[in-house]
């Protein structure tokens, strides 16, 4: 067989050479007689002139290439000649020359589902040939919604990818691919131009050429030990032939909206206090409102009626500029980009400014046998962020904790004798005005004082490669790259006077740190077609070193002046803290190989294996091997399918394989170590009052036996297109079983409090479906392109540890944990007492199960086990933060020069634990703001159908001390993320000013959200833990920075 083919090959070559000489001879005689010159211009549909298009005469070697303006000139042998116009990414077109001398051509983009080239692990593949599950996101989708963070732009764009973000400028959204496979860190691996990284927040979305999401083992296991959370491959833009300059800009503003709807105003709050006194029978002289026996409360002269949400928010402006230059010749290509983004948040003084630059280039030598290239990006970000999802955050403190009676600033003509400060006009108002105003900070004062706080970081990511074509189809590639990160922060904490809990001394903190990672990859690729057999083999070797970083922090207390120019640590009266950290580096060494084979484009097989070694594991378990197999069958190409004409393409595919994860494990996990610091183990043994002697303790219990967690994934799917490729459908079913899941089970208290080691003990399963549906058609001048993507997963914990069936996770609540991770349930499920209603009478209390604190008007909990007493055993899994499914709907219309895009994104079937309700619906949940429902719709003997329990100072088991279903709300929502109307100026107008294309647009972002959720925003971001969203406490609204409506105008220019 082999011998035969070789002979065929030789004979073909001989024939070709002969033909070549023949044509040379022939042409010299024939061309002279009939040749004529054709000129024309090639444009791309909707994009303007297209440079670099190959124009050839079919069956000859005659060819030309269009110039920068898309113009070409070609000599053709005669009227029967057929001109072929081809360019990568566009459908080729053929024209018979005939009598024409000028032929203009419009090429149509060719990104149909099948011919699309997809970047996968270490190679590119035609979508047609894929056997694994790979999603893609088009660059236009990434920049459709104004964001500086690629993670936010992924929301609703690819099936199987769940993205949750928040409204803070520059914030990174949580990106989860196909559920969760770890308790600790479920961040996907990003591979940017071949360089693996966990963070792409510095990347400018405008620089991205393509994004591929590798979802199953068939696609991702080539990334082995880092693949189990899915892999997102980002490729940045490259130069093309000719030069091209683009500039795009937008500006707009965000509207904070009205804020929480159901809070008390000053009079209502006072009335509520009176209702509580009445309900409780309290007789007291209220320090603000007078004697409780008075028929109505008396408002003091200084009483304001502050809407704190409005006071601390603003209309926020955004502007963005992107300039790109790209171009090239046959042997050299470059792409350069500069981006500037200034983005103000709706919270006072909250902003992020981002400046980014990129330079990519590629050079080829020796007739393309040798290629050098580099990709390099720089980003500088500067911001003043605010906390979110916690008690001290402005969203929570300002919205739900501050009483309306407190003035923001003491108005002219008012002086108040406060608890510890005498307020004069211009002073900040605060809880120190009188007893009983609570302990919330004046959020406007806090934000204003913090306006000079600074944080910046610099991110560099880059790589250089050499690519050697050893033989036809055999290439060697070596890539060396890495990321470098440096940050600096300065934070000044003012002394305060206005509050009930004041900081008496100002303090100032500075901290800085750096991090470095590098990767070196060497690979061989063999890509060859032998008749109907197509083979692609890639094999390589990779080494990584991560976490090379250090940092330090120092705090000084006591400053002569608050002047920002005076802020140094050395100017402090006392240095009150200094610390540093020293990252434990991690090294990885890997070998990998993949072989794809296809026969007749119909039968597709692929096998992958990767072996990884990691310094995180002890020498016995240092290496892990991750194989995968996948196969595809293009049924539509089978003879028996020919009759079914409405189906253009149908491929079924399946994969099975393993992927690993090691993110959870600390680099020091294998070591038993000792150490100590002042806060944990120093003691003033000499009785000095102000210094402590160093002491040590066991700080970590080591587990040298830990190994990779392994994710066994099965994926079955099909891809089809029908009705002349107008309709497309992709479907995947998958099951991800994580075994040897690394978990650090809590040890018995008797083991001490040293850090517990990660051990391979837990197990988890995710099953789900991914669905993508697309429709594309043209009705006269009206073009339509629509797609719906949907993702559904079900997460189930199969095992935690021997004897441990659950553990709770708490994101900072005052009443214990809401999220329980238990065997047989999904991660972070909501756990607590089920509220049956409110007790209506003493008789009902007496006839119900014994419940601590039970009384009319208070919660009646479900006696789940029916033992006649409400005990912790009666708690149930009462809700799930995981949605039943998430979706994105993208509709775009073109009509002549107009385009209209609508993008709807949503989440269905998830519950939200509205922790803010605890603060405002219960009087004893601190003396902060309260809800108007507590005044108007709370239980009284005459209002028995009330929504809210009785307004009382009682704080006990039956009121506000337990996690219960009262706080749960339906978190489903559908949001109009983007509505954009664009207009492309006619070419006739542009040619005069030598501009290739101009598009202007207006846009509304987050125009509306349909939801039943009563909080600020149903999209509840997740708290961060060690730089990654903590998936164990999802869906709890601890005060998430809301995503708000934004209006944008923008322009795209190309020269």
């Amino acid at each position: 067989m082999f011998k035969k083919r070789l002979t065929m090959q030789i004979s073909t070559n001989v024939r070709r050479i002969a033909l070549f000489f023949l044509s040379m001879v022939l042409s010299s005689s024939i061309i002279f007689a009939q040749e004529k010159t054709i000129t024309g211009k090639v444009t791309a549909q909707g994009e303007g002139p297209l440079p670099g298009v190959n124009v050839t005469v079919q069956g000859t070697t005659i060819g030309a290439i269009t110039d920068l303006n898309g113009a070409y000139s070609i000599k053709v042998p005669g009227t029967a000649a057929i001109l072929v116009f081809s360019s990568v990414g566009y459908t080729s077109k053929q024209v018979v020359v005939g009598t024409q001398t000028a032929i203009d051509m419009i090429l149509q983009s060719d990104v149909t589902a099948l011919s699309e080239v997809v970047v996968t692990g270490y190679t590119t593949q035609r979508r047609k040939d894929l056997t694994g599950s790979v999603g893609t996101v088009a660059p236009a989708e990434l920049t459709a919604v104004p964001t500086t963070n690629v993670s936010n732009a992924l929301q609703g764009r690819s099936s199987g990818v769940t993205v949750i973000g928040n409204g803070q400028p520059g914030s990174t959204a949580s990106v989860r691919i196909r559920g969760f496979s770890s308790f600790q860190n479920n961040d996907p691996l990003y591979v940017v131009d071949g360089i693996p990284t966990q963070d792409i927040s510095s990347m400018n979305p405008n620089d991205v050429e393509s994004i591929s999401v590798l979802k199953d083992a068939g696609a991702a296991s080539i990334y082995g030990s880092r693949a189990s959370n899915g892999v997102i491959i980002v490729t940045t833009k490259k130069g093309t032939k000719g030069t091209k300059v683009t500039y795009s800009a937008y500006t707009g503003f965000s509207d904070p909206g009205k804020g929480p709807k159901n809070l008390c105003n000053t009079q209502q709050f006072a009335d509520l206090q009176w209702l509580v006194y009445k309900n409780d029978g309290t007789v007291i002289n209220n320090p603000v409102y007078g004697l409780s026996t008075n028929p109505t409360p008396t408002l003091p002269s200084w009483a304001a009626n502050t809407n704190w949400f409005q006071a601390m928010t603003r209309t926020a402006y955004t502007q963005n500029h992107d300039l790109t230059l790209s171009g090239g010749t046959d042997n050299a290509k470059f792409f350069g980009a500069i981006g500037v983004n200034k983005n103000d948040g709706i919270i006072l003084y909250n902003y992020e400014n981002k400046y980014s630059a990129r330079f990519n280039s590629e050079f080829s030598f020796l007739n393309s046998h040798l290629k050098f290239g580099e990709n390099f990006a720089f980003a500088y970000r500067q911001n003043n962020t605010v906390a979110q999802l916690n008690e001290g955050s402005p969203i929570e403190m300002g919205s739900f904790r501050s009483q309306p009676i407190i003035p923001v600033v003491i108005p002219a003509g008012e002086t108040i004798t406060g608890l510890a400060h005498n307020y004069i006009p211009g002073d900040w108002g605060g809880t120190g005005i009188a007893n009983g105003l609570g302990q919330a900070g004046n959020e406007v004062a806090v934000l204003t004082r913090n306006k000079d706080n600074k944080y910046w970081n610099i991110n560099l990511i880059g790589s250089a490669f050499v690519d050697v074509k050893i033989l036809q189809g055999l290439n060697f590639r070596s890539t060396l790259g890495g990321t470098w990160f440096n940050s600096y922060q300065s934070t000044y904490n003012f002394a305060t006077y206005e509050g009930s809990e004041n900081a008496l001394t100002p303090s100032y903190n500075e901290n800085a740190g750096y991090n470095l990672e590098w990767t070196w990859t060497n690979s061989l690729t063999f890509d060859k077609t032998f008749g109907q057999h197509k083979i692609l083999i890639v094999a390589g070797y990779e080494s990584n070193e991560l976490g090379l970083g250090r940092g330090m922090s120092a705090t000084g207390s006591g400053y002569f002046t608050d002047d920002p120019n005076y802020r140094t640590i050395s100017n402090a009266a006392k240095i009150s803290g200094a610390s540093s950290y020293f990252n434990n580096p991690v090294t990885l060494i890997s070998q990998f190989a993949r072989a794809d084979y296809s026969f007749m484009d119909r039968y597709l097989l692929s096998a992958t294996v990767r072996r990884d070694g990691s310094s995180k594991f002890g020498s016995t378990n240092r290496y892990g091997v991750f194989p995968s197999f996948s196969a595809g069958w293009r049924i539509s190409d089978e003879p028996f399918f020919k009759g079914i004409s409405f189906i253009n393409d149908l491929k079924i595919r399946g994969s099975y394989g393993m992927m690993g994860n090691q993110l959870a494990v600390d680099a020091a996990n294998q070591f038993y170590s000792y150490g100590g610091d002042p806060s944990t183990s120093f003691y003033d043994i000499n009785g000095t009052f102000s210094s402590s002697q160093p002491g040590f303790r066991p700080i970590r219990i080591g587990n040298p036996a830990a190994k990779w967690e392994t994710n066994v994934t099965t994926d079955l799917g099909f891809e089809t297109s029908f009705l002349n490729n107008k309709l497309g459908l992709k479907f995947d079913w998958y099951q991800k079983k994580t075994k040897d899941l690394l978990y650090n089970p809590e040890l018995p208290g008797t083991a001490g409090a040293a850090t517990q080691p990660y051990i391979n003990i837990a197990a988890m399963t995710n099953t789900g479906v991914d669905l993508e549906f697309s429709f594309k058609d043209k009705f006269g001048d009206l073009g339509f392109d629509g797609s719906v993507i949907g993702s559904a997963y079900k997460n189930n914990i199969d095992k935690i540890a021997e004897g441990i069936t659950f553990f709770d996770s708490n994101g900072g609540s005052r009443i214990g944990s809401f999220n329980r991770n238990a065997v047989g349930h999904s991660m972070g499920a909501f756990f607590g007492y089920k509220v049956l209603g409110l007790f209506q009478s003493d008789a009902e209390v007496a006839s119900s199960a014994t419940q601590d604190g039970a009384a009319p008007g208070l919660f009646k909990f479900q006696d789940t086990n029916g033992d006649g007493a409400i005990t912790p055993e009666d708690r149930v899994f009462m809700g799930n933060p995981n949605p039943k499914f998430t979706y994105g709907v993208n509709l775009s219309f073109t009509y002549k020069n107009f385009d209209l895009t609508a993008f709807l994104q949503g989440s269905q079937g998830n519950d939200v634990f509205n922790w803010n309700t605890w603060w405002v619906d219960f009087w004893p949940s601190f003396a902060g703001q309260k809800s108007s429902d507590l005044l108007n719709n709370s239980w009284t003997p005459t209002n028995t159908g009330a929504k809210v329990p009785k307004a009382t100072s009682l704080s006990n088991f039956s009121t506000n001390t337990q996690s219960c279903s009262y706080y749960l709300e339906n978190g489903s929502y559908a949001r109009m993320k983007n509505l954009q109307l664009g207009y492309t100026l006619p070419e006739s107008l542009l040619s005069k000013i030598s501009v290739k294309s101009v598009r202007v647009y207006v846009q509304a972002v987050n125009l509306f959200t349909i939801t039943k959720y009563t909080g600020l925003d149903p999209e509840i971001d997740t708290q961060q833990a060690n730089g990654s969203p903590n998936d164990l406490i999802r869906g709890v609204d601890y005060g998430s920075y809301p995503t708000v409506r934004q209006y944008i105008i923008g322009i795209n220019l190309a020269f």
């Binding site: 309290t282 007291i284 002289n285 320090p287 026996t293 510890a420 007893n435 009983g436 050893i470 033989l471 009930s500 809990e501 008496l504 001394t505 705090t555 000084g556 207390s557 006591g558 009150s576 434990n584 580096p585 310094s615 240092r622 020091a668 038993y672 000792y674 150490g675 100590g676 002042p678 806060s679 944990t680 183990s681 003691y683 003033d684 043994i685 000499n686 009785g687 009052f689 102000s690 402590s692 160093p694 002491g695 040590f696 066991p698 700080i699 809590e746 018995p748 208290g749 008797t750 409090a753 040293a754 004897g803 441990i804 004893p924 601190f926 003396a927 704080s955 088991f957 506000n960 001390t961």
Partner: protein, 629 residues
């Protein structure tokens, strides 16, 4: 073509080279920590031992205020000499502890368990390394002995603290395996054995924060009394301490001249202090060494008052009343101090500070004496806002009246009251006069009193308090873990139980006589006028053992009140149920009583805390629950 092959071969060679050094490449040493081998030196072991001592305050950044060694929750609040205070929403987990409705999932209980066993594990880690170093001849036998005795005594103390909490506890020595630890056996002998190793430690340890022979003897005596009721055994130890005891730095112990001075931070290592937990401020510990366990327990008034946060740990009315004395200056041992005629005036429900508007006409004399209303205003004074207001009821025509606090010095009290409790009208250290409800976070919830013994003086702010944080309530006011008065009263208790009433009388009266020193009274701002009517007398005799017992028990309440002992004292005396039900019944009648206690009762199971459910779960059932919980 050749060139390409050369490149290819070169590449393979590079890859091969890389591969050959891979095993070194994957070996990365941990950063920023120590290996056990580095610690087996005198310096290393001493640092391990200091790590074990450092848990004696119950604090580290791994634990919050739950396990504070001052036992303000476990000893004082649970003993109902104080309530949680603050407002009802803050630290709600203490609420069921003070109401005797806590369940085994209460996070305070688990945190305290974990803290105590972390402390024990540090002792054990020290012992392991000492033995290794000794085996390797890195230290001498003498050095090893001293380290081992300190570590074992500490281990005994931490176990004893756990024993008082739960009774059923696992005993962990350096060989014990946490995976199989049980709490089924009686561990009291092991605790006593550990504490016994320390009693021949030198008297002068060269550092005030170490355990010496005296400290070990007192701790052993405490354990013998609590766990074994071995009063005779304890008596020998305590008598020796009284005769020969020294502080760990070798200096003398004895009674401080005046009562109040004991609680001044400057005197934390004064003569009274047999062992004080050494807090340190501004030592770069993020205030974790600065009495973080008590950081919540300061009056609640911004800026101008001590601490500024968070209004917890408010003394109970019943505790305040206990300080009433009879004509002889002796306490009312029949508890009659709680009778309406005897109880101490409280300013509940009255506006704090100076709320009167001088421009408004009112007649203080006419009002204050004109009306003596019924409950709930029974203790309140009134001022009339109009003239000729007699007969108007403030409840029905409040506009005519303002509630007026009138200091009532008619009731004679033990002077120790005003060092133990901050109450309205009485000077509060050098912070000025306590002005009532504006020092209290929520009077309608926590009552009108403030804690005092651990509070710093205004003049000490910045010196003995942590600087530059949200509160100044982190102080160097180390918990007086063993006071000399405590030693005398323990000795007296042993003498009573062994029927040596004469010597018991002497020891009790030593304590009372010191309290009677008028130089130690709280004075008005003039420095000479006592702030209230004080009297304290010595007992003429202990007629019977039963009387002596009652007197001794009252004396501990008065002398050691708010110092974390009460609940454990009651536990030793077998009085938890009867005494606390009596006290709760009284407290429930207070204006704030229902909100606070919600009709609580104490039952037999409440003599110990429930074993944390989480620990039972984690042990896979090897650790079991206390009966009744």
């Amino acid at each position: 073509m050749k060139k390409k092959y050369i490149i290819f071969i070169l590449i393979l060679a590079v890859m091969g080279t890389w591969g050959s050094c891979k095993s070194d490449f994957l070996t990365v040493a941990p950063t920023g920590s120590l290996d056990q081998s580095l610690l087996a030196t005198t310096n290393g072991i001493d640092a391990m031992l200091i790590g074990a001592y450092s848990m004696i305050d119950g604090q580290s950044s791994q634990f919050s205020w739950e396990p504070a060694s001052s036992n303000w929750v476990w000893g004082s609040i649970r003993g109902v000499e104080s309530n949680k205070g603050s407002n009802s929403g803050d630290q709600q987990d203490i609420q069921p502890i003070q109401g005797f409705t806590e369940d085994a999932t209460n996070p305070f209980i688990n945190a305290t368990w974990r803290e105590l066993y972390e402390a024990i594990s540090r002792c054990n880690a020290t012992i392991v390394i000492v033995n290794k170093a000794l085996a390797a001849s890195k230290i001498t036998q003498d050095q090893a002995t001293s380290y081992l005795k300190q570590a074992q005594t500490l281990r005994g103390w931490y176990h004893f603290d756990a024993w008082r909490m739960w009774n059923k506890i696992p005993y962990m020595d350096e060989k014990a395996d946490p995976a199989v630890a049980t709490n089924s056996e009686d561990v009291s002998d092991k605790i006593i054995a550990d504490l016994t190793t320390g009693i021949d430690l030198p008297l002068d340890m060269g550092a005030i924060g170490r355990f010496n022979g005296t400290v070990a003897k007192v701790l052993l005596a405490k354990a013998l009394m609590q766990m074994k009721h071995d009063y005779a055994g304890a008596l020998i130890l305590l008598a020796d301490v009284k005769a020969n005891g020294k502080k760990p730095d070798g200096s003398a112990i004895g009674l401080a001249a005046t009562y109040g001075e004991i609680f001044d931070i400057a005197n934390r290592n004064g003569i009274e202090s047999v062992y004080t937990v050494q807090y340190s401020v501004n030592d770069n510990s993020g205030a974790n060494n600065a009495g973080n366990g008590e950081v919540l327990n300061f009056p609640y008034k911004s800026g101008g008052s001590p601490g500024g946060c968070c209004g917890f740990f408010q003394p109970a009315q019943e505790f305040v009343n206990s300080f009433r004395v009879d004509a002889a200056g002796l306490p009312m041992l029949d508890n009659s101090y709680d009778l309406p005629a005897n109880q101490i005036l409280r300013d509940e429900g009255i506006a704090g500070g100076s709320p009167w508007d001088a421009t408004k006409a009112y007649d203080i004399n006419q009002g204050a004496t004109a009306y003596s209303p019924a409950a709930p205003f029974k203790d309140l004074g009134y001022v009339s806002l109009i003239t000729a207001n007699k007969g108007n009821n403030p409840l029905t025509s409040p506009a005519a009246w303002a509630l007026k606090w009138t200091e009532d010095n008619s009731k004679v009290v033990d002077p120790r009251l005003d060092w133990s409790v901050g109450r309205r009208g009485i000077p509060y250290w050098d912070w000025g006069v306590h002005t009532g409800s504006d020092w209290i976070r929520d009077q309608s919830y926590g009552g009108p009193y403030s804690p005092k013994k651990q509070v710093y003086k205004k003049s000490q702010e910045g010196k003995y308090t942590e600087v530059g944080n949200w509160t100044s309530g982190w102080t160097a006011n180390g918990y007086r873990m063993i006071r000399y008065a405590d030693v005398l009263l323990m000795l007296a208790e042993c003498q009573i139980e062994t029927n040596d009433l004469a010597n018991a009388l002497i020891n009790v009266n030593l304590v009372r006589a010191r309290a009677a020193n008028p130089l130690g009274y709280v004075m008005e701002s003039d420095g000479t006028t006592p702030a209230a009517t004080y009297a304290v007398g010595v007992y003429p005799a202990f007629a019977t053992q039963a009387f002596a017992r009652t007197a001794l028990q009252m004396e501990r309440k008065l002398e050691l009140g708010q110092e974390g002992h009460r609940y454990f004292d009651l536990q030793r005396w077998g009085n938890v149920v009867t005494e606390l039900n009596r006290v709760l019944a009284y407290e429930e009648t207070m204006d704030w009583g229902t909100l606070l206690y919600n009709h609580s009762t104490v039952s037999a199971k409440d003599v110990n805390y429930p074993v944390p459910q989480r620990q039972i779960d984690l042990s896979n059932g090897k650790i079991t629950q206390n009966t009744g919980h």
